[in-house]
Assembly symmetry: none
Homo-oligomer: 192 residues x 4
């Protein structure tokens, strides 16, 4: 998940992600990260300048990974509707396959602990932009409502996020069929 980082950094980021999801940022001490990652605190500080830095790298790393995951295979000549479906299926797949990353981003994208610069970088590197472009294309073809593309992306994304959240919380179950109908609903929501 964090290919651009070296081994030590990867171990630290992975471990941190895990602990935060289990215990909350508050209870995620450097000592615990060191112990569970098998990297000494001294070494951690050799590769990260602070705990904040770790969290922010984590944030940026996950968003980048998510962005690449979702937008891969989106750059084709196929009809908009096909790419629309593929993209959101990718999002579902992402959330189900990497729930830790998903939850982390969900919980901390509003946190003051994440620098504005990280949020900005995330926003630009994520999949929001590419998807908005797809939506703009759809608007151009008269397929979608004449709304701000980014807003529609957010709307559709929100639906998915909340279904995934309900699923992860165990409030209900998501299967292939449900996912398909959610995507259909999403299309209906924004289509003309």
């Amino acid at each position: 998940m964090f290919e651009k980082y070296n081994n030590v950094q990867q171990a630290v980021l992975q471990t941190t992600l895990q602990i935060i999801n289990e215990k909350e940022l508050q209870a995620t001490s450097m000592a615990l990260i060191a112990k569970q990652s098998g990297v000494s605190t001294g070494s951690i500080y050799h590769y990260f300048s602070s705990k904040e830095d770790i969290i922010n790298e984590l944030y940026k790393g996950i968003v980048k990974f998510n962005g690449e995951f979702v937008t891969s295979g989106l750059d084709t000549d196929e009809p908009v509707r096909i790419r629309f479906e593929r993209a959101w299926k990718k999002v579902f797949e992402l959330c189900m396959t990497y729930p830790l990353g998903f939850q982390f981003i969900e919980q901390y994208s509003f946190s003051p602990y994440i620098y504005d610069s990280s949020k900005l970088e995330a926003y630009e590197g994520g999949w929001c932009g590419p998807l908005a472009k797809l939506y703009a294309e759809a608007i151009g073809q008269g397929l979608m409502l004449d709304m701000e593309p980014k807003q529609m992306v957010q709307m559709n994304y929100g639906s998915i996020v909340y279904l995934v959240k309900g699923h992860l919380k165990g409030q209900f179950n998501l299967n292939e069929e449900t996912i398909q109908s959610v995507i259909d609903s999403s299309w209906k929501a924004v289509s003309r």
Copy 2:
């Protein structure tokens, strides 16, 4: 916002909500709460058993408040479509009027810091249940898709949440008109 609590408790809860939104749970110390609320730490511990307790009361209090806010005026004989619209407009109004509460719930509804019992209580006292009932009614009338009502509520709620988040983050602006079209879209998404 916290009517069932006494003055001291209200001051503590209000202050805590504010600080957490500004500074994150991590940086919200009891000393700071005491100072800003004008209540001594000793007194705080007279009314709350621990810091966790404060946060959990806060969580439950806000969810309860939100639930009452959204479901008020929903118990009428008007057509489903009208009540649907009124409910979601209330949700928008809630998010815009009480952004602190909104953000707090968003950020901590997944947090291990919130007891499962609080989450359960929240789920029952919130507006999810009543809205799901409305949706079930709509299904019965053949107006909505034959999907799990709770899932559809989540879907629609997710759209709204993400639009509000985008708005609060300053990514775009929400006005009356946009809100209306979002509600229309939401209806389209779940309607037959």
Copy 3:
């Protein structure tokens, strides 16, 4: 020695002074101060804002004490020569009676660890000013060289300091007789 401070503060300052003299600032940890003073680290931080703060309060407290010690009984009508002698005898007495304070000031009056504001406050509250006034009086009476009074005070003080240092290092011994002759020499040095 630190009357204007409360009991806890006095204990901390006294202990700190002792440890620094034994072990050097570097090796004077808060944990050690806490242990030896019988005050918990938490309490120390209740009364002092940081370790730097302790050291600076120590510095200012000692200089103030020294200033009052030396200048007491200097404000009489007796001849300059008498008061000159009394003052420097007081300085000797001070150094011999409170060697810890003496050495601390000597070692740290140049240290970047001491704030400039402390140094300034020290300079004004110490005994340099009053003594310089006495010297000015002597110059006015044609008894002393026509030199900057402060410079002459420094000169005379330096002689004493270095004798005391030699004494404390065990390089030689200072007795009543030696002290008397040093004061006579000092007078000779600056007199006309």
Copy 4:
């Protein structure tokens, strides 16, 4: 300043002296020394056995340098008074030209961080001994008070040190003229 050491050692010692004067021993980390001197920590430990060792070598090196600087040209047949004057002028020159070394010695000659062996070596290699010999000669010629020569040297040195300190602190300015009169005063102080 540290001719008997090799290039690497010189770089380390020079850098250390600088940093200590700017930042205090406490804040003088090996990492900082390594960085600023351009020598890796590994290499530093090849040439010095510990941080203490560096500081002590520094101490001894400076004292040695100072001793040679001051006593050079003292071994002549000229009258005592002439050599007396030349010696103290050299001391002034030393302090003004190498203030870092001067301040370092001043601040650490009492420090527990400096080994007793270093202090002893310093005492023997410094200029105290040679000057004391000159003073003894003066006593023999009936020119000086019948006091312990070392004590008189200390007295005179103290005067100078404190004037230089006042000068370095910016309390007043030292010029050629002042220096001359200080030396005259010093002679008066110890002469018969």
